[in-house]
Symmetry: C2
DNA sequence: ATAGCCTCTTGAACGACGTTCAAGAGTGCG
DNA sequence: CGCACTCTTGAACGTCGTTCAAGAGGCTAT
């Protein structure tokens, strides 16, 4: 029994690893059953013993990406304990840095759509929430007198705004731009939001 | 000759129309050769006489969507000739309104990725630029003393930021929300950016 | 030790997809 | 009326995600 569980767990791990490499190499479109099976050293059917379908596998890869993103944002966390604005600026830069360095993995987070009627698992939304929480403390420090709900809305607006700048910037839609320009836009947005709030 | 051109043009029109309906109904995933051919009353192969592939057809649909979006943003244009901030607020509301009302068509604009090495046509980027230009005049009125390049960057940051709020909001990622909450975030972002700039 | 059971694994098979292309239909011109 | 040429057709091809009958392999009870 534990032997079987081990095999299963190892295969799961291997598949996520291989799928992650495929995404990093060729985006979501590169997640294909037969090549994955070959790279993982199993039969095509074996994938479906471990994941319900390829969407489930992609979800598992994406949650890993979220963990990596969370780590990148955690690393800038302790650096500005008494300067919330610089902290937020650093978070913005970290977000852009991650997206620019791991563009295809990061893009898979938003490009991937669950099929109709596929419920997003809790462990996924929880992860997303964890990412977002990095903004909570700086906003609390900056606006201690405002109600928490208002601060949360401001934080969401800023996060989504920065995300939009990165998304459109890296897409090259709205004119091709390079990372420094995108970084400047984020800095402007953060500063403006804090100054205007 | 003109007869043939007419047939061709009519088929093209019909296909775009049918593909647009398919996207509005079931998103990009619903753009499939055989159903489209059936709905348009032609053979599957006929699609490829008019478009290089389905991506070309989707591009044609998307440029139509951009035209509709442009129209929605143009309509709010003349309403606040002497209040640039309200003009910008109205543009943000119009963008959200369009995206909320035509979610699948709007989403197709960003969800669709050209295959590797497929160049985005000029008539497409031109259209995108036209959309963005709506922000130019209000920013020029608000910050007449700043260099135009700086104003453009501010406008791009605000546009992308608002887009991010709409995108994450309608996705339901980062917590499910309804349109009024998204609208409030955009209002906050616009006000903050203008106040902070 | 071994027989029996049950789960895991396999890869051929299925239907649907985008795209192609040989063959047929249709059109305009001499 | 016949020729040449283009447009149109849908069967066919390769690939996709997914399924499932059949075989392999290990665990338990005797």
């Amino acid at each position: 029994m534990s032997d079987v569980t081990d095999r299963r767990e190892r295969l799961r791990e291997k598949l996520v690893e291989v799928a992650e490499a495929a995404i990093a190499e060729g985006g979501l479109a590169a997640v294909k059953a037969r090549p994955l099976a070959e790279a993982a050293g199993c039969a095509v059917g074996a994938i479906y013993n471990v994941f319900p379908d390829l969407d489930g596998l992609i979800l598992a890869v994406n949650v890993r990406t979220l963990e990596a993103l969370d780590q990148a944002m955690t690393e800038v966390g302790g650096r500005f304990p008494d300067d919330p604005e610089r902290h937020l600026q650093a978070l913005g830069a970290a977000y852009l840095g991650f997206a620019a360095a791991q563009t295809r993995r990061w893009r898979a987070l938003f490009e991937h759509r669950l099929p109709e009627g596929y419920a997003v698992p809790d462990w996924y939304t929880d992860r997303l929430d964890t990412i977002f929480r990095h903004l909570r403390d700086p906003f609390a420090a900056l606006f201690p007198d405002r109600p928490a709900s208002e601060r949360i809305e401001m934080a969401r607006a800023l996060f989504a705004g920065a995300h939009g700048i990165v998304a459109l910037g890296l897409d090259g839609k709205l004119g091709a731009v390079d990372a420094p320009v995108i970084a400047a836009r984020i800095r402007f947005l953060v500063r403006a939001v804090l100054a205007g709030a």
